[in-house]
């Protein structure tokens, strides 16, 4: 009976939400050869603020409070990155080559092109974690295209920096309940190639990230749509193999950036923020009170006035 009964884990919508490739009701756009889950709020002629989520493999659900910037004269665009969130799943081979990170920068460039109405419309980037790293990768490549950026705790701007940060933020507590909650299920859901199954299983890792006493200071769970497990796994492997350095041309970026770190992330702090932000010629460092790494979700009340003040200055 056990062999024959039960639902297939891959049945669409049973364990993870449908993506834009499966649900035409979701807002989406065909961008740079893929279909992205994306939407924008505000007046399209206002300065464009592109919100870039973390991960890799995360989504923008926990950043949706940033819609509020549209009430203050910004056209706010969100998108789930390639293969992540509610965007279309893509084969792992897309993230395998030496230029995989560049593909994500190209996607961002195409998203900006999709929403930008004219060359005179200013573009701002708001990136969280990996999203802040990606924003820097973009600025490094297109310094003249961006008028300012709010960067919230990018792990690092090079792979060696990021790797060092991850070793602190994901410090393994070998006898902890949090570890069981993250990995015990790997013996129940194992060796499966289907992306839906891998995405579902990857969600259990948030148990570790957000467990009581976690290093990064999150007080609990924060909302997300889907973990892009394949994008995450492949991009980490790609970075281990090829590395990256988003700092090679940052001196060409003459605008000041707002670089934010959280009060409660024990793996980050003021000194790491100073180290990571150093390649920017002008970086304004500020601490966001009362939150950990998920600054926009748990620290919104302190984050928003800081970010708005900066963006209005740069507008």
């Amino acid at each position: 009976m056990l062999l024959s009964c039960g639902t297939e884990m891959t049945e669409p919508g049973s364990l993870v939400p449908l993506t834009v490739a499966e649900d035409p009701a979701l807002p989406s756009a065909f961008i740079n050869g893929t279909q992205l889950h994306t939407e924008a709020f505000g007046n399209p002629d206002d300065p464009l603020l592109v919100v870039i989520h973390g991960g890799p493999g995360g989504d923008y659900r926990s950043l949706l409070d940033a819609k509020a910037f549209s009430d203050y004269g910004f056209y706010v665009a969100f998108y789930d990155q390639r293969g992540s969130g509610l965007s279309k799943r893509e084969p792992e081979s897309q993230y395998a080559g030496e230029n995989a990170v560049r593909l994500f920068i190209d996607d961002l460039h195409a998203v900006i092109g999709y929403y930008r109405r004219s060359e005179s419309q200013k573009v701002f980037l708001l990136g969280h974690s990996w999203g802040a790293m990606l924003a820097t990768g973009y600025i490094n490549l297109y310094p003249s295209q961006v008028a300012g950026a709010v960067l919230a705790e990018p792990g690092g701007l090079t792979w060696s920096q990021t790797s060092e940060y991850l070793s602190r933020s994901n410090k393994v507590r070998f006898f902890s309940e949090a570890l069981n909650d993250a990995v015990f299920a790997e013996q129940i859901i194992a060796g499966r190639p289907e992306h839906e199954v891998l995405d579902y299983k990857a969600a259990f890792f948030t148990n570790y990230e957000n467990a009581p006493g976690n290093e990064i200071g999150n007080p609990g769970h924060y909302p997300s749509w889907r973990s892009g497990a394949v994008a995450f796994r492949a991009l980490i492997a790609n970075a281990e193999k090829y590395g990256f350095d988003f700092t090679t041309n940052l001196r060409a970026f003459t605008h000041e950036i707002l670089f934010l770190y959280s009060e409660n992330n024990r793996a980050y702090g003021a000194s790491w923020a100073a180290t990571v932000s150093a390649p920017y010629p002008g970086a304004r460092l500020e601490e966001v009170a009362g939150c950990g790494h998920e600054i926009l979700y748990f620290g919104w009340d302190d984050f928003f006035p800081r970010a708005l003040r900066y963006l209005n200055e740069m507008k």
Partner: protein, 221 residues
């Protein structure tokens, strides 16, 4: 689920399968002591500890070992996650001091986290081939742990995705283990050290921690 909740089903299961010996056995150490009791500590997916109990059975000229191992991962919630493995093992071939052992097993597992609770039924087949003397032995190990089906009840996952469906799912996948087992036996005491590497069956979706190790201390009586 508390320890109290699982104690009764666990006891019933152990009674249902009858006296069962420990999971590890040194065939060359004789069949005089038929009861085996073991304590186990190890790390595979996470760190764990456990106990096993059983009995050596003689069917004709053939010795069989049927056993139950109950393991719990370390952690603050005592019994929200557990694994119960019930097996029968037999020495299929022996020539001189070389021995081939086959151990098929039924596995029940429970996993609980803030996201979801999974109750899993699986099967495991382990093959050991090695050199075995009365006081010590060394063997190569190959096993396949097949997860067959799981009942999933979602908690926090439902907040993120209200349409997620609870119920039985066909997991139909598994992990391979490749490793070695060393054992040392003195009088009625035995010690078994197993170590190796495990992989997902597609050799791609592999466990987060690639290696496993287990130390078992055994008393025969």
């Amino acid at each position: 689920m508390t320890m109290k909740n699982i104690a009764l089903p666990l006891l019933l299961l152990i009674l249902a399968i009858g006296p069962a010996p420990g999971q590890d056995v040194n065939w060359a150490s004789g069949t005089g002591n038929r009861n085996l009791f073991s304590a186990t500590f190890g790390a595979d997916y996470s760190s764990y500890y456990g106990i096993s109990y059983g009995r050596l059975l003689q069917i004709g000229k053939k010795s069989l070992v049927a056993g139950t191992v109950f393991t719990l991962p370390f952690g603050s919630n005592l019994a929200d996650d557990w694994r119960l493995l019930t097996s029968v093992q037999a020495e299929l071939l022996s020539h001189g001091s070389f021995s081939l052992t086959l151990k098929p097993a039924l596995i029940l597992r429970r996993y609980e986290s803030p996201m979801a609770t999974l109750f899993n039924v699986g099967a495991d087949v382990l093959v050991l081939y090695g050199y075995q003397k009365p006081g010590w032995g060394i063997a190569a190990l190959l096993s396949y742990d097949r997860s067959i089906s799981a009942r999933i009840t979602h908690q926090l996952q439902k907040d993120d995705y209200p349409a997620v469906r609870d119920g039985w799912y066909r997991t139909r996948s598994g992990n391979f283990r490749f490793g070695a087992r060393l054992n040392y036996t003195r009088r009625s005491w035995g010690m078994f050290l197993t170590t190796g590497k495990h992989y997902g069956q597609n050799f791609k979706d592999n466990p987060t921690f690639p290696f496993f190790a287990e130390l078992t201390l055994q008393k025969r009586f």
